[in-house]
């Protein structure tokens, strides 16, 4: 079981490195987010809300980097559906559960590997996590990458129309990272978009960012356990939903 899942996942991981230009572009963007935005915004933001923008934004970029890379699996899953490569997957001697878990894990691997470089950067720019904090960081990364991989797989299989797939993915993608605390603190969000504030505060990316900010020592006053539980709930719900949608749409013609 475990080995089948890993073999399925290895295919998605290998493909990730085939998109070299896309990858290079992402790295440049994420680093630019930290360096350029950090330097520019540092002198523009209200210091009572954000004392140091670089320390503030870097843990957010950890979430963003993980999100972007795990989420990228949806693109291939969508193309596979349209080109009927999914029929090939369905014919392989693995169970449907192994297949779907393998895909989730494949996306999650992309996220975890891509994020690792940014973890080192965060250690340099923000602070050294304690061993306990590392456990929280690992938990956060594993769950968030699985949840986002599942989400993008589900979104990519709701329709065989490639344009519609891409549109749905982009909309959800921008919603998730704009309506989060990655670039702006939760207090500001509550002031400006009142009704959206709960969504922003409890979105998976915001929860993960809060946990990273705590882990790297930027925030002290965080209810770590509740945030971890909440992220766990998000992950379980998204994965169950995604499994159902993926398998239903994969086998719909048949």
């Amino acid at each position: 079981m475990a080995s089948s899942i890993l073999v399925i996942a290895s295919r998605d991981l290998k493909r990730f490195w085939s998109y070299k230009f896309w990858l290079a572009g992402q790295v440049v963007m994420n680093v630019a987010d930290i360096v350029i935005f950090g330097l520019l915004f540092n002198n523009m933001v209200n210091r009572s809300l954000i004392p140091d923008y670089i320390k503030f934004v870097t843990p957010g970029i950890l979430s963003l980097a993980l999100f972007i890379s795990s989420f990228s699996i949806g693109r291939e899953v969508g193309v596979e559906l349209r080109r009927e490569v999914t029929d090939y997957l369905l014919s392989l001697p693995v169970s449907r559960l192994e297949l779907v878990l393998g895909r989730f894990v494949g996306g999650a691997f992309r996220g975890l590997i891509y994020q690792s470089g940014f973890l080192v950067l965060a250690m340099l720019l923000v602070g050294q996590p304690s061993p306990a904090a590392w456990l929280v960081i690992a938990y956060t990364s594993i769950l968030l990458s699985l949840a986002m991989s599942g989400l993008s797989i589900a979104l990519s299989t709701v329709t065989r129309d490639f344009n519609l797939q891409a549109t749905i993915r982009s909309v959800v993608y921008y919603m998730l990272f704009f309506f989060s605390n990655i670039f702006y603190p939760t207090q500001v969000v509550s002031m400006r978009f009142g009704p959206l504030a709960p969504f922003v505060a409890y979105s998976p990316l915001s929860i993960a960012t809060t946990l990273y900010r705590w882990g790297f020592g930027y925030l002290r006053d965080v209810d770590v356990v509740s945030n971890m539980l909440l992220l766990g709930v998000w992950t379980i719900v998204l994965l169950i939903l995604s499994s159902v949608i993926y398998l239903r749409n994969l086998t719909r013609r048949g």
Binding site: S4, V7, I8, S10, R11, K14, R15, S18, Y19, E76, V79, E80, R83, E84, V85, D87, Y88, L90, S91, L92, P93, V94, S95, R96, T251, R253, G254
Partner: protein, 326 residues
């Protein structure tokens, strides 16, 4: 009589690899396969013939558990495709009609991954993929992306997957379509070897020559219904008056007598001193015809039996009658 009974026993003793029971498949309102019943035996090469859109691929994909039956069931070595799909997949290898890969996939990587999924260790996977690539003359293409391959090469890549797997049941959907003629002959031998090494093989094809060359039994499917199943020669025998016995006699002075004596066998036509008799089971009747002529004192210069081709069989069972009945 004894032979007949022995034949029946032989059939009963054969292990059934695939049992199709009242299989119907609908896509929306359209019925692609309609109440199919069929048995395919262990370690035979079974051919699925039928015009475009007759339901071959639909049936094969359902056997491989990619599609689910709308009603009825299919059993692969006793496992139901509806209730034990995972058990079925462990026994089945499938080469698709339309090769399945994404542009980012490279030949060797794609196949090594396939080998891993079907159960080889990393080291074994490398080895078996190399062997199969060399067998199929694909080694030089190993580092190419899928989109860089020609149509025939893509088809060979599909077959490679099955050769790596060597499944109990190999399903090949038009394995030699788009492949050049010398390669076709090579692939037919490879397919026979696959069977000789223990696989049951089902081939869908439109190529009558291919069916005749590699298949022991064929089923003809037409508009989602199975219209005939038999050995290739059995099917030919089932075309009414499909055989032609061509007899050349010496001197046409005795022609009338000859025709008269042969009338009982079938319709007789003549041209010069060549007589044509339209019959079933041409080989048997030819011997009879020779005897009749000899006892009538007519000298036979040559005698030849022309069998219908499988094309004729196909046309006959799928609607167009090539051989008109008089």
């Amino acid at each position: 009589m004894f032979l007949f009974l022995a034949g029946v026993r032989l059939m009963e003793d054969r292990v059934v690899a695939v049992k199709v029971v009242n299989f119907t498949k609908r896509f929306g309102n359209f019925t692609a396969v309609n109440g199919l019943n069929l048995e395919i035996y262990d370690r035979e090469i079974f051919g699925f013939l039928g015009p475009n859109g007759s339901g071959k691929t639909t049936t094969l994909l359902t056997i491989a558990t990619v599609y689910k039956p709308t009603s009825g069931d299919i059993f692969v070595y006793g496992h139901s495709v509806t209730r034990e799909d995972y058990e079925v997949r462990k026994l089945v290898g499938l080469a698709f009609q339309d090769p399945k890969a994404l542009w980012v996939d490279k030949v060797q990587e794609l196949l090594e991954w396939h080998a891993r999924v079907v159960g080889f260790s990393r080291g074994e996977a490398k080895k078996v993929v190399r062997e199969v690539l060399e067998t199929l003359d694909l080694w030089e293409h190993r580092n190419k992306y899928f989109y860089q391959l020609s149509g025939g090469t893509r088809k060979k890549l599909e077959l490679a997957k099955v050769l790596i797997q060597r499944p109990r049941l190999a399903i090949l959907d038009e394995p030699t379509a788009q492949v050049d003629v010398p390669t076709k002959h090579k692939l037919w031998n490879i397919i026979k070897e696959l069977r000789d090494q223990g696989s049951t093989v089902i081939i869908a094809t439109n190529d009558m020559f291919e069916a005749e060359k590699v298949c022991e039994r064929v089923g003809i499917i037409y508009k989602g219904r199975l219209v005939a199943v038999d050995t290739v020669s059995g099917l030919k025998d089932r075309i009414p008056k499909g055989d032609v016995i061509e007899i050349v006699i010496e001197g046409d002075g005795r022609k009338d007598k000859a025709i008269e004596s042969l009338m009982d066998l079938g319709r007789v036509e003549y041209q010069g001193n060549t007589l044509r008799i339209y019959v079933e089971k041409g080989e048997e009747k030819a011997l009879l015809a020779a005897d009749i002529l000899r006892s009538a004192g007519i000298k036979v210069k040559s005698i030849m039996v022309k069998e219908p081709t499988l094309d004729d069989v196909f046309m006959y069972f799928t609607g167009a009658r090539l051989v008109e009945e008089s």
